[in-house]
């Protein structure tokens, strides 16, 4: 029952062959080329933002299935190698396709969020995730609403865990965010509000206080 309900990984937009490949990887990982599965997932994550937001959950399930079936980590190794390859080429990616870049950051944060080793986040991903977020907090990135939206959303998802892994870099990141909020860059009203909300969110211990929730989200006037 619960297994069936977790089959919803938003793969409906994929072609039939790909859907079948992924379903088999989830049920019987030994029966497919797991390295190919990893590449397929990354390729689609770079094109489909809806998928990239939840792809981490699918990766988690495949890793669990493979570990249980064969005690191996072929899929995880393939996934991380491909993720690292895209990371090394991220500047070209960002220059060619803003959409692809936003999808990549969403995906790597998703992987960081879902995949754990000995109940801890993967250490190897901490600095790469920070590097991506630092890029999003640069003045040139803040002038694009898609990048501000991505930055704020990922900090909501992984900010607290990330801070525990390296608090100093989080402090440095928030200096950039604060300066971005304060300095008169080409910041849209929505982007400025998103940054302010994030500054307050962290200041309140990575929680949304009732007062802030009412201020930002309630349409009912006082």
């Amino acid at each position: 029952m619960s297994e069936a309900s977790r089959d919803d990984y938003k793969i409906q937009s994929f072609d039939a062959e790909t859907q079948q490949l992924l379903k088999t990887a989830l049920k019987d990982p030994g029966a497919v080329d797991l390295e190919r599965v990893a590449n397929v997932i990354v390729d689609h994550s770079l094109q489909d933002c809806v998928f990239s937001k939840e792809a981490g959950r699918m990766c988690y399930a495949i890793i669990q299935a493979e570990s249980k079936q064969a005690g191996q980590s072929v899929f995880r190794r393939g996934l991380l190698n491909r993720l690292q390859k895209e990371y090394d080429a991220r500047e070209q990616l960002r220059a060619c396709s803003l959409q692809g870049w936003v999808c990549y950051v969403t995906f790597i944060c998703n992987i960081f969020d879902y995949l754990r080793v000995n109940n801890m986040p993967m250490m190897a991903l901490v600095n790469p995730v920070y590097d991506c977020l630092f890029q999003l907090a640069q003045p040139e990135s803040l002038s694009r609403e898609e990048e501000v939206d991505c930055l704020v959303l990922q900090l909501h998802r992984v900010g607290e865990q990330l801070e525990k892994m390296n608090g100093q870099r989080m402090d440095e990141l928030f200096i950039l965010i604060r300066d971005g909020f304060l300095l008169p860059t080409d910041l849209s009203s929505l982007a400025r509000l998103l940054l302010l909300e994030m500054i307050e969110f962290r200041a309140a211990g990575w929680k949304t206080t009732p007062a802030a929730h009412k201020y930002y989200y309630s349409e009912v006037s006082d």
């Binding site: 991380l80 969020d113 790469p128 604060r178 009203s189 998103l194 802030a212």
Partner: protein, 478 residues
Amino acid sequence: MATDSWALAVDEQEAAVKSMSSLQIKEEKVKADTNGVIKTSTTAEKTEEEEKEDRAAQSLLNKLIRSNLVDNTNQVEVLQRDPSSPLYSVKSFEELRLKPQLLQGVYAMGFNRPSKIQENALPMMLAEPPQNLIAQSQSGTGKTAAFVLAMLSRVEPADRYPQCLCLSPTYELALQTGKVIEQMGKFHPELKLAYAVRGNKLERGQKVSEQIVIGTPGTVLDWCSKLKFIDPKKIKVFVLDEADVMIATQGHQDQSIRIQRMLPRNCQMLLFSATFEDSVWKFAQKVVPDPNIIKLKREEETLDTIKQYYVLCNNREEKFQALCNLYGAITIAQAMIFCHTRKTASWLAAELSKEGHQVALLSGEMMVEQRAAVIERFREGKEKVLVTTNVCARGIDVEQVSVVINFDLPVDKDGNPDNETYLHRIGRTGRFGKRGLAVNMVDSKHSMNILNRIQEHFNKKIERLDTDDLDEIEKIAN
């Protein structure tokens, strides 16, 4: 580091606690004999799922930020004023990474958080490399503290020559700015300030050793060129305050530009003005190369902390009677009353004295020392009422001024409303976070027309007040 394989690093992380993992496996085997293991894992799984759902919900919330917030970013400022907001503690002076002695000075003055102009301007003023700035800022917004911080953070106290230069349009404003510098810099004992104002005579051939010089344009120009008391090539920060007033004074504009031309190319330049009419804007662009600009919307030129009213009268005597009624009904700490001419100011001061008020009179023909003495007595509360002409619409920061009265409305030499002067006059009240009150006396159709045009300019309603209705007067005082 970046070239290391992530996959290998993760494998190592997993292997690093392999023995711990084995211990955990053993514990599980022991507990497998009971039902507790199943419950534990089920509970953990639910908790994890709930956490995921919470974060998924947040992604939806981000899209639902209230549309009226997006359309009215001015409300962001409202939140920032709320002490219960976490942002209140985040946006403090510590974040600006100031020198410890300077931070001590800031807190000693009672500043606990930046004001709006400071929030926007300070990071820019303190940035490396230094940024040039043109900022629109009305009175009481902390701009003086902001540029004083910039000067103090860049000055090297061990060097005994002028490094920062600040131009003020009036002697009074120079004194006032100087006081802020002395207070904020008091934990730097080697830091000295020189006043370049008429009346401060130095001997020929002397060199100024103070690190900061503040003065009026004419005297500063003489000190830099004719008298050579200052080497302008060593100036690192140049501040031009109240630029709109500067260009309104005969000669100040030219003198300021000539001073600016003598400064080094890499000197940081900061210019402030309450308004930016075309003439001010042209002047500003001549003085400050490649500036960052902070400009207020038209509505923001009017101070929201000030309530504005007008009173209908027919002549000078009726205006005086209305003034007496106001005094009878309101507890007024200190008042400033502005008149158009010295003659009216003298007459009004005499009439108020007859009524028993302690009155100070200030006008342009008084000597510099006399004016300073009058301002000091007023600031100390020895006089409760200051009657003055336009000359002092700027530069007087007295905390207790609770009401400003335009006995005569401000007009320029052509008889048109002088919006800049009006803004500066009412800016004398409502400072330091306190509610302010401004009352305008109208005595003819002509002056009513002036008032209407002022009202239109600032897009701010000025309510009529009936000074014969004591209940109404008492109501506005709250």
